[in-house]
Symmetry: C2
Subunit: 331 residues, 2 copies
């Protein structure tokens, strides 16, 4: 029973929670409810607490048998104080919300927070595509582009847990504005919205593509998924959009290869569901642009755990944090 932790994923559209066996990676009692972020952080956190209680109750487990709760949060955190500083991709502001403390008070189980892309990285390293090597980099391509690093078998945190923001590497110093406030970041070039914008532009330019047709010319409905669908049906313009996105991501992968020298680079997140359409140009670009290290020794692989990697990683993180407090060591 020692290995049971609760993993929680605070997503833009869904709250998910499950019991994670941190020894095997197995999930039980997975439940999912809408986040309803617009109702504000108090409401979202209240719903999260109820969700956690429901998971525990349905599985008929005693709370004292649960080692801890880990929450993957899509934003900037103060890990030491358990506070949410900044949630750029969630509606409603979360100014200095002490999420750790609130959940601990409501549920009565020690709680740890971790950035969602770092959670995914940790999950993929332990039980997914990053298994078996000591150093990996992980890209999470979605509404934003997150990331994480495992270095010599340890999740790399950096100052306050903010290291691993691989999506905010500047790949063109004159590039377009990024949501973060800088410009030319990978995220500004290849996030889900940036890919959708390439589709919209192609339609508006009158290029020969089925992208517009698929959404009945309601341009707001163009998403990476729609463009993927067009590409799968042989649409060359749609194919080229993923080529471009893959090129941009490949440049950032090349940068991580020369700076970190990882054994594996894991590509995950919703947009990565495009599979080889995206992975092939990522690999090609990265291998073409790296010379100062043995690039052939770096595997560039798709994530393996799907949408639950973050939840698993957050639970693993909670276990690591709880064992640190039990040992009496400080962080």
């Amino acid at each position: 029973m020692d290995n049971m932790y609760i993993g929680v994923d605070l997503g833009g559209t869904h709250l998910r929670a499950a019991i994670v066996n941190t020894e095997t990676g197995k999930l039980t009692g997975l439940k999912q409810i809408p986040t309803l972020a617009r109702e504000g952080h108090d409401a979202v956190i209240a719903r999260m607490a109820i969700l956690i209680e429901d998971v525990i109750h349905e599985q008929q487990i005693d709370k004292t048998d649960i080692g801890g709760i880990g929450i993957g949060v899509p934003g900037v955190l103060d890990l030491e104080r358990g506070i949410v500083l900044f949630l750029p991709n969630l509606a409603g502001t979360w100014p200095n919300v002490p999420l750790k403390k609130i959940i601990e008070e409501k549920v009565g189980i020690p709680t740890s927070l971790l950035n969602d892309a770092r959670s995914m990285t940790f999950g993929e390293w332990k039980f997914g595509a990053g298994q078996g090597v000591d150093t990996i980099a992980c890209f999470a391509i979605g509404t934003g582009i997150g990331g994480g690093l495992v270095i010599n078998g340890k999740l790399h945190l950096g100052i306050g847990g903010t290291g691993g923001e691989l999506g905010h590497q500047i790949i063109d110093f004159n590039g377009p504005p990024c949501g973060c406030g800088s410009h030319g970041c990978l995220e500004a070039f290849a996030s889900g919205p940036a890919i959708a914008a390439m589709g919209v532009k192609a339609v508006l330019q009158g290029l020969t593509t089925s992208i517009g047709e698929i959404v009945d010319y309601d341009l707001n409905k163009i998403t990476p998924k729609i463009i993927y669908q067009a590409a799968m049906e042989g649409d060359e313009i749609a194919h080229n959009i993923f080529e471009k996105a893959g090129f941009y991501i490949g440049i950032a992968v090349a940068n991580i290869m020369v700076t970190i020298g990882p054994r594996k680079v894991v590509i995950g997140g919703g947009v990565a569901q495009a599979g080889d359409l995206l992975l092939e140009p990522i690999r090609r670009t990265a291998y073409e642009r790296v010379f100062v290290m043995p690039r052939e020794q770096v595997e560039i692989v798709p994530a393996a755990l799907g949408p639950y990697a973050g939840l698993v990683g957050a639970a693993l993180w909670a276990r690591e944090q709880q064992s640190i407090s039990t040992d009496g060591a400080t962080n």
Copy 2:
């Protein structure tokens, strides 16, 4: 006596060696001879062995009192086999030269190799500008741009010791060709030769600058040092060249801040002797372009050990490697 190691620096113009007290960082018996790289690797290595013997002899030290030799090498190495794979900035090719083995045979002391910028990083972290924190990034701005990372108190190696190549981050995917074979790398924008080329261009364009005058219009003589001299005399064009170089380096520093979250970024190498002229735009750019981490907690500082940082770091590295072999542990 346990702390005495020999540090060697294989530079493009000079071979340097000294005895390093790895407990205090103190150098004794420093000697320097010309590298004469054009004579080929056999000749250079023979001279290196004699230099090491001379240092030991002059200090009247018994070889058995020396823990090991560490050699900082300006190129790509196979650390495990102690082989030099690629020396881009040294005349003559060094194809798979087993430098470690040759020196061990000639001198009879266990020898370790380390890339010169990683050596400098390790030296600066232990005894220089990077002291007192657990995670640093170090840029060595010279003929090329090298780098290194110390992560959680350990020199980061990556695959085969090739991690930390901070100068080969791509900061503009459409940028100019780099000596490494890629293009748009930081090195292509802000190495010593790239800075000199900006000076040459300014003169050829007929801009109002004293750079040409200083070298009597022998454009081959324009170096970063000459441009620095002009800037110090109030030359605005020369000043702007360092502004530009600092901007490019600042972008790469911003990238390392978001990916690693280091406590300190150390700027060293010959070109960094320009001091605030270069540091000021580096700091300004990095702080302006980082949003997703607490940038104010990152100190961007000049290197402190000067040209001997590499030699000190190589000796420290030799100690670490020797203690690993003594423990019987594998790498």
